[in-house]
Structure formats: C-alpha cells, structure tokens
C-alpha cells in the first residue's frame, strides 16, 4: 500500500510538489493529500489563499481519478474541463488535507467531488465538483 502511495505522489505535478503536497495515506475511499502550512500558501493575513486550497482540491481529484483508472483498466491521461469550488470556512495556518470521490467514471469522462479539511474532517474548509475528460489510447 505504501508503494502505491508513493507512486501516486510521484504522479502529482511540479506545482503540487512546490507547494509541499504529497499523498499522506490511502483511506477506505481513496488517496488523502496533505498540504503543510507555509507562507507560500497564505492569502489575507492569518488565512490560507483560496487558490492554494483549490489546488489541493484539484490534486485530490487527480489522485482519485488515477487510482480509479489504475484499478479499472490501467492509467490514462486526463484533462480537466471545469471546477466549481465552495469556500466554507477560512483556512487556518495549519496542515490541510483533501480527498476526492469519484461520483461517476465513464469511458470518456469522470465526475469527481473533492473536500478539504484541517483539524476536523467533518468540518470542510472547502468542497469542489470537477469534470475531467479521460483520453483513450485511440486519442479520444
């Protein structure tokens, strides 16, 4: 399981790695991404920037899709179509986590929900809904 976790962390793009994000562990539903607090992700004084929280949500979604693809037929390139983010609580200067849930994965697209939290997983700081295209080997 740790090997798989490291493989998924390696799939995270340079953007995620420069903000210190990594796959913390695999829970029952999928990979949990951790983002440590750093000045680099601060927005208004004392709070995280909404864009950094959005980045964490997108990385959780990407990790969840790759995990689902690997579990299905094998990994494939994906392309994001859109994202809607709800900001629910101010992100505090502390470690944040996010996990993605695949609502539906078809042949050519995936509907993904993601949530981000800090101390209490039951109190999300933000949630997001995203659509991704799944590129097939035939170029679809």
């Amino acid at each position: 399981m740790n090997h798989f976790r490291d493989d998924l962390t390696a799939l995270l793009p340079p953007y995620a790695q420069s903000l210190g994000m990594f796959v913390r562990h695999m829970d029952g539903t999928g990979p949990v991404i951790e983002m440590p607090f750093d000045q680099k992700i601060q927005g208004r004084p004392g709070f995280l920037h909404g864009g950094a929280i959005s980045g964490l949500l997108e990385m959780a979604a990407i990790a969840a899709i790759h995990q689902a693809l690997i579990a299905r037929h094998g990994d494939a390139p994906i392309r994001q179509v859109n994202v809607t983010i709800d900001f629910m609580r101010g992100g505090l200067p502390q470690t944040s986590y996010a996990a993605g849930t695949i609502a539906r994965m078809g042949r050519s697209m995936a509907n993904v929900n993601a949530r981000a939290w800090q101390g209490d997983p039951e109190k999300p700081i933000a949630t997001a809904q995203m659509h991704y295209l799944i590129k097939s080997a035939q170029g679809g």
Binding site: P13, P14, K40, G50, S54, I85, D86
Partner: protein
C-alpha cells in the same frame, strides 16, 4: 497609503488603487510565491498576470501551467475588481468560484487574468473572469463567482 504597512493598505474604506494594492499583495504569501503582477485596470475590472515557471507546471509531459495557478490569478483579479467597482477596500472572502478551462495555458506563456465585477449588493460582489495569454479574443478559461463582505473584520 503606506505600501510597506498592510494595516493601512487593508483598512476598511481605504480608497482603492489596484496597482498599489497588488504591489503589496505580490510581496508576501501566495501572491508573492506566484509573483502575481499588476497588468491593467478599468472602471470595474482589474487584470493581473503570472509568468510561466517550471515549478508551476501542471503536466510535466507538456509543460502546461497548473490549472490551480489560473484559479489563484482569477481569485485575486475578481476580488480586486469588486474593490475597483466600489472604489474602496472592503474586507471580503470568496464564497464560490467556477472555472471552465477552454484550453491549457501553454509552456513558457505568461498568463493574464482579468476579473470583472458586474454587480454589487450590500453584502455580495458578483464577478466574472477571463484568463488568456495576451489576446483577450483567445481566452483559455472563463470564471464566475461571488464574494461576501465580512462584517466587523478588524485589520
């Protein structure tokens, strides 16, 4: 306004100058990390820009910019467009934001984010955003969202 002093820059009702405020916002935190720069502004819009960097890449295979960088850019630009339309700094937070990615932002290309405030009520600012690589007629993303004013916020 004292650009070295965040308290005077972000005090409720301070007359709003997008270039000056961005000069401060791009010095620290996430705006500083992304090196978000002022581009231009109009009556109800503010445009900011971020240069492509290899540590902001979202797909190492193609070198395209991470989509979340575009979110940060449009979050700041749309937020500032509300202050620009109000003519003053008013504490607020993003309530929701939606982005449609028409195409990726290619490797090496500077990305611009224009935030437009099309309506303000007492509590809510309604915004749209467009991201492009220098030609507004060739957009890479559209955004829409809302911001809510914070009451009793102390700077």
């Amino acid at each position: 306004m004292d650009i070295e002093n965040p308290v005077s820059t972000f005090t409720e009702g301070t007359p709003f100058d997008p270039e000056l405020v961005n000069r401060f916002m791009s010095k620290f935190g996430h705006g500083g990390f992304l090196n978000m720069e002022y581009s231009q502004h109009g009556e109800d819009w503010v445009e900011l820009a971020i240069d492509w960097r290899d540590d902001l890449v979202g797909d190492p295979g193609t070198g395209v910019m991470a989509s979340a960088v575009v979110i940060s850019l449009l979050d700041n630009a749309t937020s500032m467009s509300i202050w620009q339309k109000r003519g003053a700094f008013v504490p607020q937070v993003t309530m929701d934001l939606r982005l449609d990615y028409l195409r990726p932002s290619p490797a090496g290309k500077r990305v611009y984010g224009r935030g437009i405030c099309y309506h303000i009520s007492r509590k809510i600012g309604f915004v749209r955003g467009i991201a492009h690589n220098g030609d507004l007629e060739d957009p890479l993303a559209y955004a829409s969202g809302t911001f809510i004013r914070l009451e009793g916020w102390q700077s």
